[in-house]
């Protein structure tokens, strides 16, 4: 039987008067790719940020393999096995590409230091397809390569669960195909992934299951085919002007 890795129960987040996430609940099982989709501003990133410990939920519980994460600061959730990328890519501009990835390997969930950490980082960079640009300064990387470095950094601590917040956003069609293949290969490695995504092709081809959010609340859950044909989901998407 597959085990539950992450359990989100009754999670709510208020920013002053605004309820960004309302009573969210879902489970993520091991080796599963779980999508979180929904219109702009529906609370997807806020959900990811609470799991990663960027800020605490106002209410509710988030458990990683039974251990409570809710309210823990980010460095503790990272050590417990949460790895993530950011919706707006965040790299360490004064560090080399390899050091950017080593950063993810030294202090987190599974730790390495010195030569083994560097070897691990190089191997991951190869893995995400950045072998050729490895010697470039961060400032001269292409957009997709910055995304690759960030992904390699998130993988470097061997996380129990990987959170990808719109990792495929902003890629051109060719890059998008490469990106989807890459995430699929991670999935085939047996990683557990939560994927926030707007790109429908990616959702269809990558996700085992999806949770759909609208105005902070969960409005549907199921396989991509199920949720994308759900009347309420269609209304939520058509009810606003999607950008593309």
């Amino acid at each position: 039987m597959s085990r539950t890795v992450l359990e989100v129960q009754g999670v709510t987040k208020r920013f002053g008067g605004l309820v960004a996430v309302r009573d969210m609940r879902f489970d993520v099982t091991e080796h599963e790719v779980m999508g979180i989709i929904g219109p702009n501003g529906s609370g997807k990133s806020t959900m990811i940020n609470m799991i990663s410990g960027l800020f605490p939920p106002s209410e509710g519980s988030i458990r990683l393999k039974g251990a409570e994460l809710a309210g823990l600061p980010a460095h503790k959730t990272a050590r417990k096995g949460v790895g993530r990328t950011f919706q707006l890519v965040r790299l360490l501009p004064e560090l080399s590409v390899v050091e950017n990835v080593v950063a993810g390997a030294v202090f987190g969930h599974r730790r390495r230091w010195g030569k083994p950490a560097e070897a691990h980082a190089r191997q991951l960079l190869e893995r995400v397809g950045l072998g050729a640009s490895i010697g470039l300064p961060i400032s001269s990387l292409t957009y997709i390569d910055t995304k690759r470095v960030e992904l390699a950094r998130a993988l470097a601590g061997d996380p129990e669960v990987l959170l990808l917040d719109e990792w495929l956003a902003g890629l051109n069609p060719t890059e998008l195909a490469t990106g989807i293949d890459l995430v699929r290969s991670l999935r085939d490695e047996g990683r557990t992934i939560i994927l926030v995504e707007h790109v429908m092709d990616a959702i269809r081809s990558l996700c085992d299951r999806c949770v759909v959010m609208s105005s902070g609340a969960k409005i549907a859950e199921g396989t991509p085919a199920e949720v994308l044909s759900d009347a309420e989901v269609i209304r939520a998407y058509l009810g606003e002007d999607e950008d593309a």
Partner: protein, 309 residues
């Protein structure tokens, strides 16, 4: 340590050895100058160890320094002199850790203001205690000579460089570079950023307090207004930034020209020293961002490009 690292250490060891002969070779005037330089080398280098990677500007040097001078002032008659810098360093480290715990969660601006206020706070506290006990200042009359002070400061400088070198190779050093680049990322890769910053902030705290303790006999008479003078904090920041914080040798490269210039100005036009501080500050901001370290990096880059390598 591998052969390459040993090769890097040897010139520094020779430089230190040469510096140790200054009191034997040079006149008392130059010894006094060298002592001032050694003092600023310790202060600016330890300052840069913290402020360089974290980008937090600390103006607390005078607070730690003042605490150190008072440790000597209170203890020199009862304790052997060698113990005083150690006690001062312990107190400076504790004070820095406390201040760090309170302030390092705040953003950089609040940190600057708080550290500036700290020297004033401690000064007022000492003054109040002295008023209660009916004291004003105190005489520090010892048999410690300028040479002794110089050599002690040189030893302390060697310790600071050693600490800097060790930290640079350590996980703490790496963590601080990450924090300096993006604190959010630092937390998300598992770094306890508050702990790392507090741990590192104790180093300038310890170093500056030890410097104060060692230098107290030089002043003969100490009182709060001079021991905690905020000018010292600003001098240290300017010298460290002039040299550059990116490399361990940076502050040294700022201290030497600045101290010479300061001495020159004090003799020619004693009222213009603050003007010098201001001009050097403008120079750093507009002409020399990154200090001499940054300039050196640019020159090397140009040289490498020009060489067509």
């Amino acid at each position: 340590m591998n052969a390459q690292e040993i090769g890097k250490v040897i010139p520094w060891a020779l430089l230190l050895l040469a510096a140790a002969f200054v009191p034997v070779v040079f006149s008392p005037y130059w010894l006094s100058m060298a002592t001032t330089m050694a003092m600023f080398v310790v202060l600016a280098t330890s300052w840069a160890l913290f402020s360089g990677p974290t980008h937090y500007i600390s103006l607390a040097t005078a607070a730690f320094f003042g605490v150190g001078t008072f440790v000597t002032g209170l203890g020199f008659q009862t304790l052997p002199f060698w113990m005083l810098p150690l006690i001062a360093a312990a107190l400076g480290g504790i004070l820095a850790a406390l201040v760090g715990m309170v302030t390092l969660r705040l953003s950089g601006v609040y940190f600057v203001i708080f550290t500036l206020g700290l020297a004033e706070l401690v000064r007022q506290l000492v003054t109040w205690v002295q008023n209660q006990t009916g004291q004003r200042g105190m005489y520090v009359l010892t048999s410690i000579t300028e040479r002794d002070i110089y050599w002690m400061l040189l030893g302390l400088a060697a310790l600071v460089y050693l600490a800097g070198w060790l930290i640079g190779r350590s996980k703490l050093g790496f963590a601080l570079r990450i924090i300096g680049n993006d604190e959010t990322v630092a937390r998300h890769v598992g770094i306890d950023t508050a702990l790392a910053k507090v741990a590192l902030f104790t180093i300038p705290g310890m170093a500056a307090a030890a410097v104060g303790a060692i230098l107290a006999p030089r002043y003969i008479y100490i009182e709060p207004s001079t021991a905690f003078a905020p000018l010292l904090s600003f001098q240290v920041v300017i010298m460290a930034l002039l040299g550059g914080t990116g490399r361990l040798w940076g502050p040294l490269a700022g201290v030497i020209p600045f101290t010479l210039l300061w001495e020159f100005i004090t003799r020619q036009a004693p009222n213009q020293t603050l003007l010098l501080l201001g001009i050097v500050f403008l120079l750093i901001v507009y002409v020399l961002p990154g200090g001499f370290v940054g300039l050196w990096a640019r020159i090397r880059r140009r040289f490498h490009q020009g060489g067509g390598a």
